[in-house]
């Protein structure tokens, strides 16, 4: 059974079809990139996969359960329990330290545990920066904190929206290395990106155009 399956998904805003009969399957432990030009429906798809929006038509099966008709309260619970989010603009709570930002995610999920949060920061190489505020961290460091925050609750799926869009090459490589590490550990990754290099790091790339799946590319050179 696939971890995620979008079945005949459409999202319609008046006359506009942001997504038009999309079918996608993502297996457990798979690393998938979603590419496409602006207006291709990437954001809409990301919102639906991230349980922040519902499709107009079709089914979204997460772990075999259709979540396309769930209430927003239930979707919040599913997002909290199963999905780790990484954003292009990092988005940290600016008055909380790095470790506290990681603990926020634990707080909404279950129980804050500072030691565990510090370990997660250690995994992204930022344990010594744990007590720094976001304003005292570089962009790359902030994104690494966000990776730590996304993986702290051991989600089944990590959904990253342009995770390297605001990073220089060195930091982009650090983040991609972290993704490789997560992939090796069996985490399922869906990465929405404009960047072909980031897409090439994934096992498979789904290209969206005009709200439809234009093509799927298997990365033959994928390195574990």
């Amino acid at each position: 059974m696939s971890l995620l399956e979008l079945k005949n998904i459409s999202k319609i805003y008046g006359e506009l079809k942001a997504l038009d009969n999309v079918n996608i399957k993502v297996e457990k432990g798979e690393w998938v990139a979603i590419m496409g030009p602006s207006g291709s429906g990437k954001s809409t798809m990301m919102n639906i996969i991230g349980c922040m929006d519902k499709p107009s038509l079709g089914e979204v099966l997460l772990d075999g359960v259709d979540i396309s008709k769930e209430s927003s309260k239930k979707l919040t619970e599913i997002r909290r329990d199963k999905i780790g989010l990484i954003f292009q603009q990092f988005h940290m709570v600016n008055y909380l330290t790095a470790v506290e930002n990681v603990m926020v995610s634990q707080y909404y999920h279950s129980m804050p545990d500072e030691e565990e949060a510090l370990e997660a920061l250690g995994r992204v190489g930022l344990r010594e920066r744990a007590k720094h505020l976001p304003s005292q961290l570089s962009g790359g460091e902030q994104q690494r904190v966000c990776v730590a925050r996304a993986l702290i609750n051991a989600p089944e799926l990590i959904l990253a929206d342009e995770p390297t869009g605001n990073l220089d090459e060195a930091n982009e490589n650090i983040v991609l290395d972290l993704f490789r590490q997560l992939h090796r550990e069996g985490t399922t990754l869906i990465v929405v990106t404009h960047d072909p290099e980031v897409a090439e790091a994934a096992q498979r790339t789904i290209v969206l155009e005009h709200g439809r799946v234009a093509r799927e590319i298997i990365n033959e050179n994928f390195q574990e």
Partner: protein, 380 residues
């Protein structure tokens, strides 16, 4: 770390590390709490302060015999025990007798009294010269002094003929003061009770006892009723012109204070609500992020309410201190006396401030809950 500890950490960090905006909200609450605590202090202190002011207008209760019989000093003193000592500011006995001034061959009303007590029950009595200190010294009312042409330090001879004798008792008295009151008292001659006893040959009799009691009108009525009930031959009455105007002025002042407090609290609520609304707008992304991370609407409500109530707590404590200082300044400048701090005022002000802050947060919280978590995607 427990969830509660993390909750407190987030709430306090939000206020302490994001000072500028929250300082405005804190100041709004503190100012509201200052006015609240200040005015409530004045509200409760006004009766005492005004009571003290009104005591300057004379006695507010009198004790008179209910029948033809005169009352005795002992009986009057016994009646006074009904009133607590700390409330009884003064009790002045009066005995009125018609006496003759020998040199002028005219009759005047002589009022025998206790001059020390007179000064506490009738502080508005203005004496030119000095108050009598011995039994051979008298005060003469201004009107009488002008009529008979008596001046300070003149010696006058007062005489009285008891009903059952043919012989007049006479006493030479020195005029040590001329009394000005603007009332009937200016027609009297004032002596001590002892001098009057000597002149009349009858001792221990009184016509009236004037009392100045520091109590609200209702309490005064209770004392009067108790005295009249316990003593069939005595009657205690309120001096209506004093007690009624005191009650009316107090009621009006308290209504005014209540109204001003209500208006200030309403303004505080509007100010805090506006500030919190701006805070929610400013923190849209953060709220969106929290929701994206899995915060329920309930969590968002709890966090903003927590911040509001924490502000209310700080503002309430600050406001109590400032409010007391404010009430003290008002009291010293308006009433000329200081006030004592009421410990109960701290919890009351803090609870009201927290309540006002919580109420002010309701609309901003609604806005916060409506924020779409998807806004954190794509850097929107």
């Amino acid at each position: 770390m427990s969830r509660r500890k993390m909750f407190l950490k987030m709430v306090t960090a939000s206020l302490l590390r994001r000072r500028s905006r929250m300082l405005i909200a804190l100041l709004s609450i503190a100012i509201g709490a200052t006015i609240l605590s200040g005015l409530v202090t004045i509200y409760y202190d006004v009766p005492r302060q005004m009571g003290a002011q009104f005591r300057g207008y004379g006695a507010n209760m009198i004790l008179v015999p209910s029948g033809e019989e005169k009352m005795t000093v002992e009986k009057a003193q016994e009646c006074l025990t009904v009133i607590p000592k700390d409330q009884l500011l003064g009790a002045t006995p009066y005995r009125y007798v018609n006496v003759e001034m020998t040199s002028r061959q005219r009759t005047f009303v002589a009022a025998a009294t206790d001059f020390e007590q007179v000064q506490s029950t009738s502080p508005y009595f203005a004496v030119e010269g000095r108050w009598p200190e011995g039994d051979r010294e008298v005060l003469v009312g201004k009107e009488t002094a002008e009529t008979i042409g008596v001046k300070l330090n003149n010696v006058i001879e007062l005489s009285y003929k008891p009903e059952d004798t043919y012989v007049k008792n006479t006493l030479n008295m020195t005029v040590v003061g001329i009394l000005e009151t603007g009332g009937d008292e200016e027609a009297y001659i004032f002596t001590t009770l002892k001098a009057m006893d000597a002149l009349t040959g009858v001792s221990g009799q009184l016509d009236v006892m004037e009392m100045s009691v520091s109590a609200a009108s209702e309490e005064l009525e209770n004392y009067a009723a108790e005295i009249s009930e316990n003593n069939s031959d005595m009657s205690a009455r309120l001096v209506k012109r004093v007690t009624k105007s005191e009650t009316t002025v107090l009621a009006k002042l308290q209504s005014l204070v209540f109204l001003v407090t209500a208006v200030v609290l309403l303004l505080t609520m509007i100010c805090v609500s506006t500030t919190m609304m701006a805070v929610v707008s400013e923190r849209r992304k953060e709220i969106g992020l929290r929701k994206a991370l899995g915060a329920s609407d309930q969590s968002i409500r709890a966090e903003f309410l927590g911040e509001g109530m924490f502000l209310g707590l700080l503002g309430g404590i600050l406001g109590t201190a400032l409010g007391f200082a404010f009430a003290q300044v008002v009291s010293v400048n308006v009433f000329g006396s200081s006030i004592t701090f009421q410990p109960l005022l701290l919890p009351i002000t803090v609870i009201v401030s927290m309540g006002i802050a919580a109420l002010s947060c309701l609309l901003p919280i609604r806005r916060a809950v409506e924020i779409d978590p998807a806004l954190v995607l794509k850097g929107e």
